[in-house]
């Protein structure tokens, strides 16, 4: 059975590197993007099984990208986990309103991220 593909989106190289290390541990194939616009393009081209996306990014934020991905027929069913700096109710609510399936807060806990990824992928 081929590995599941995850699209990892973050404008921070450090975050991308760290999250890549966590998810590679879970034996997933990774595709990366550095902003919301690129995330939408990569999602359409790569058809990932899941998207892990930061909220604060240039060009198109995670919330905006999430709404766009939900609008497009080809990507509307891909589960999205948002990585947010602020874990307060307001911010979380905005994330769910934009169409995300779950969220993790920074600093990212590796076990928590893997657990949520597995849960969204039905593993």
């Amino acid at each position: 059975m081929p590995n599941k593909k995850i699209l990892l989106v973050d404008d921070s190289k450090t975050s991308l590197f760290m999250e890549s290390m966590i998810l590679k541990n879970g034996h997933y194939d990774l595709v990366t993007a550095v902003d919301g616009r690129e995330a939408v393009d990569k999602a359409l081209a790569e058809k990932p099984d899941l998207i892990v996306m930061d909220v604060v990014m240039p060009h198109m934020t995670g919330f905006e990208a999430c709404r766009e991905l939900r609008r497009l027929e080809a990507t509307r069913d891909i589960p999205i986990i948002l990585v947010t700096t602020r874990g307060e109710g307001e911010n979380v609510e905005a994330g769910f309103e934009s169409g995300c399936n779950d969220y993790v807060t920074k600093p990212v806990d590796g076990l928590e991220l893997l657990s949520k990824v597995r849960s969204q992928l039905g593993e």
Binding site: S12, T14, S15, P107, V108, L111
Partner: protein, 286 residues
Amino acid sequence: MQEDGPGTFVRKVAQDTHRYSQELLEENRKLRVLLATLEAERQSLSTKARLAKEAVASSDALKALVDTLETEKQRLQEQLLRAQEELEHHRQDQHELRTRLVSTEAETREFAERYAHVEDQNSKLANLYVASYQLHGTVDFQEVVTVIREIVANLIGSEELALFKMSADGSALELVASFGIEAELYRKVFPGEGAIGRAIQSGEIYVAGTSEAEDAPAVVEPGLTAAIPLQLDGRVTGALAVFRLLPQKPGVEDADRELFELLASHAATALHCARLHAGPGQDAQP
């Protein structure tokens, strides 16, 4: 007067005959009664004999039944004994299984704890590796500053920091970059002034909330979480101050202290390399 003659004789014979007949009849009746009695007796005996025979037969059947029942009872007793032995065996098995289950559960808990510990260690090592790799992945000063900011935001959990360099004459720290704080308050920090100044004076990392920090009765910059003196070859070349942690971050953990230690030397080296790369006479700082 008695008449002798044939008539008398005949009468006498007739009388005798009659009497004799009567006696015979009586005898016959008696014999019939006797016969009837005997017949009844015979029938009674026959019945008794039959009953006795039946009783004997019945007794034999009962005896056979008793024997069968006795055999069955023995068989059942043996079965019961075997069942009791099996039950006892099962009880012992069950006890053994329970003991093994308890032991396995304890082992599972221990493994889970060890797994969590190993994962935690892995996570710490991964963070240290990421920080070190990123810090030394560039010689561009701005890039190094960005990496330090990202390490503080993504690995430690704070969006408020200040990065200082030591002035050329070593008299004060000068602010190089800051995020999320009022920069004007930290343009210059003198050794011994506040927790940041004390950290560069002692060369020891300051972490708020520790016993060492609480023992020091001096002034502490508002919201300061950690002050990390950046050192190169044992010489303080600058400092990194981390202010308020993100709301979801409960406090400084062991992994954060290790990151502070790493930043103390690796950030200093990375910043120094960036300055050298910028060339002599050029100030790489913003």
